[in-house]
Structures are given as C-alpha cells and as structure tokens.
Amino acid sequence: MLDDFLVRATLAGLGVALAAAPLGCFVVWRRMAYFGDATAHAAILGVALSLALSTSVFTGALAVALMMAFAVSALSGRGYAMDTLLGVLAHSALAFGLVAVSFLKGVRVDLNAYLFGDILAVGQSDLAVIWIGAALVVALVTWRWSALLTSTLSPDLAYASGIDPKREQLVLTLGLAIVVAVAIKVVGALLIVALLIIPAASARPLSRTPESMAVIAALIGGTAAILGLRASFLWDTPAGPTIVCVAAVIFLATNTVTRLKRR
C-alpha cells in the first residue's frame, strides 16, 4: 500500500496537518504568524547547510529552525518590536540560505522543491520522519496544554499559578521547529505557515473551547490534504499549493456560513 506515491503523499499530508493544527491554534491565539514565517524561511538555510555537510535535510532544517527560535526568544524585548525583529531575521535567513545554496558546486539543488515542497516525492523514510515528528509534537502539546493555554491568556496569570511562561514559549517554539523541519519536504518553506494558520482560522467559528478548535483544525487540515491531493492529481496542478487552496476555500466557507447564520 505504501508503494503507491499517492498513498504516501496523503499520509504525509495528514501527518503534517495533525501536528500543525494544535500549534497553529497557538500561533493564531498568540498572534505570532510571523514567527512561523521566520522559522520556515530559516529552514532554507538549514537545507543548504545540510547539503553542504551531507547530513539529512531534516537535521539541517531542524537545527537552523531551532537556532532561529532561540535567537528570536533571546532578542525579543530588547528595543525592537517583534514584527520588525522577525522581519529582519526571516528575510535575512532566507537570503543567506539562497546565497549559501549558490556556493554548493556540483550538488544539484532543486530549490523549488524546498520553497514549494514536493509531496509526491515523499519516500517511506520521509514518511517515518514526518509521523515520528508529528507524534512528538502532538505529545508535547498535549502534555503542556494547560500550561501553554494559561501562558497564552496572560503571562502574569501563569506566574501566579506557578507556571513559567518563558518555558512554555520555548516548548511552543520547539514544536514549531519540529513541524517546519518535517513539513519542508511536503509543502515547502513558503507554504508551511499556511498549513499552520488557515486550518486554525477556519476552525475558529465552529469552536466553543480551545480544545475543540484544535481538534476541528486537525480535521480541516486533514480534509484539505486529502482533497487537495485528489484535486492536484485530477487537474495536474502543483500539490502543495493545491492543498493550501483547498484550506483557503474551507476558511471562506466556515466563516461565511457562520456569519450568515448569525444574521
């Protein structure tokens, strides 16, 4: 069954959607959409480094995404607004990544594959990496859920409950780095953030509690992956972008329907 590339692609998409959903909710609630961008763009630099050092793309992307996460945490609150800081880091990391790739003589790098992903080329070992990563992220977020949620509401409320919001921020950052590293092959650096945010935003109008929003976001992300892959197969469109298009249509649908219902 895993021999079929479409089955592998679907499983890869489902894995990424599952891990991205709860993290995406936090990204939306904490207004840190740019953070996802920064981590994802930095991963391109990681891809370049991993090719130069001949390690796996996953290792390189994870290492750089983590470094980026720590850099942002360390630099925040030192005079620059967060969006400025992330803008500087995200785009310079992307630029350095692109320049670094150009130094790699003799290695043929299909940059397109890392910017836009190539879900149809996912192999069995990639699939294992994605699902292990997804399981790790889901376990991490489930374990820290209450503390993360309290810190998201208010750092001071967290302190008063004996929770260190800085540690929770680090947990979230770690989760993001893992998702970016496993997803870069599937949807690519430019579309990872879409998979984080769009399912969460589509789930919002349908949810009454944070937990239901995370579950519904996972369902929507999974649906987008399945339908997007089918559509891309039928109409011969690029797979990653088609998945994101389906997610965007779902976003439009849930938000419109809820608004009409309220009238």
Binding site: A147, S154, A160, T209, P210
Partner: protein, 251 residues
C-alpha cells in the same frame, strides 16, 4: 506569621529603578491597599510578589505552601481564542463542578459558566477573574485595580464582594486601587508607594501624612476630611505609634 515578607526589595526594569528598598508584609486575613501615582511601581510590587518579576535587590519570603490568587488589572483575550467561562475557570487545573459554582457565587457571577469570555461585560469579566482566583482557595488574594473600567455602582459592589470574601473565607487581600475613598474605608492598612514606601499604616495615619498629601493633593480633600474629622487624635501622637498603627517615613 506573615504570609509574604519583603525586606529591602529593589527592582530595576530596563535601566529604570521601579522600586527601591521596599519593606512590606501582609498577615493572615488582612486587607492592605497600595496607593500611589502612575508609575509609582504599584503593579511592579504585585508582580514581584506573585513571582512574575525578579527582584534585583533584597529578600522576598513567602510562607510555606502559600496559595496566591491573582486578579490582573487587564486581561485581553484574543477574539480568535474560543473560551467559555467554565473552561477559563479550569485553567490550569481542573476543578469540581460544585467548587466552580461556589467560586462564581462568592464572586457574584452566578450562572455565567457557559458564556464566552469575550462576550462578557466589563463587570462580569472582573468577577469571573475574581472567581478564578478564588478557586485555588488562596490564603492571599492579590488584585490589581480590580475595578478598572467599572462604573461607580459596579465598583462599589465589587469592593463589597471583596470585603465579604475576607469575612467569609478569611482570605488576606492585597490590592492596588486609585479609588481613595474606598481604600480609606475598606482597608486595615494602606501603603503609599512612590518608587519606595513613602508612608504606611492605618488609613487615618496615611491620610494625615504629609507625603501622602503631597502626592494626592487637593483632589482627595473630601475623603481625607472625613478621616481627619473622625480620627483626629491619631496625628497628635504621631511619634509613638505602635507597630500595628504603622509609621510614616519622613526622610
């Protein structure tokens, strides 16, 4: 036995000395109010006590196993976060349904369990925050300007609720307030803060202290006059106040 004791606490935030040399303590069942102008370090003091701000000097001692309930001044919940009152009250720890009902009752917010947090009115929101702080069965309840954004009847009834809590549950209460007339009537002790403790003691003592009058000036004449009238004897014997009456630092 004091629940919290601060000795010589100093806090620097980004090169700015927010608090210096603060000595302060609160006992079981006491209501203590912190007053002071904007930027005087009131919120910094509360954040230091709950552990959100590390002091850069001095010692902070909390009684063993002390449970603190904290009601922040403002809590902005992002509209993208769906959160019922009941779920909010169960953060970070789950509580039993009867406990939740009791906390909402004590805070004067019965029947709001299934409402969305973002859809609450200002007064309901403050009361739900209070209920959440109560669920821990705190020994010490810390409130930062609990009546921000409430109208006068709203804040009067919230303060009555807070006093009721002390008599019902024996909780010590530490709050920051700018409503001086309320402070003066409801508190056992008042701490007047302006980067340092410039004056503390019973409301009558603080109200008659020159430091306090220098900070709050003529706008509070009405409230102060009331106290000077009722408790005139206090500032004649200023030099020999006993400990529980407090003292004013004339330095």
């Amino acid at each position: 036995m004091e629940l919290v004791t601060l000795s010589g606490i100093g806090v620097r935030i980004g090169g700015n000395q927010a608090l210096s040399n603060v000595d302060f303590g609160i006992e079981k069942g006491e209501i203590v109010t912190v007053v002071g102008p904007n930027g005087s370090g009131k919120t910094t003091l509360l954040r230091t006590i709950i552990g959100a701000q590390k002091p850069t000097a001095g010692k902070l001692h909390r009684a063993k196993g002390l449970k603190i309930g904290y009601v922040p001044q403002r809590l902005s919940i992002d509209a993208t976060l769906p959160l019922t009152v009941e779920r909010f009250l169960n953060l970070p720890l789950r509580h039993r349904r009867p406990d939740i009902e009791a906390a909402l009752h004590h805070a004067g917010a019965e029947g709001l369990e299934s409402r969305q947090m973002v859809a609450l009115s200002g007064g309901q929101f403050q009361r739900v925050l209070l209920a959440r702080a109560l669920l821990k069965k705190p020994d010490l309840l810390i409130l930062d300007e609990p009546t921000t954004g409430l109208d006068q009847p709203g804040s009067a009834s919230l303060y009555r609720q807070i006093e009721q809590l002390r008599s019902d549950l024996g909780t010590a209460i530490l709050m920051v307030s700018h409503e001086l007339h309320v402070v003066m009537s409801a508190s056992d002790r008042v701490v007047c803060l302006n980067g340092h403790v410039c004056c503390h003691g019973t409301p009558e003592i603080v109200a008659s202290a020159p430091e306090y009058r220098a900070l709050f000036g003529s706008g509070t004449q009405g409230a102060l006059a009331l106290y000077r009238h009722d408790h005139d004897h206090h500032h004649h014997s200023h030099s020999d106040h006993s400990h529980e009456h407090g003292a004013c630092d004339h330095a």
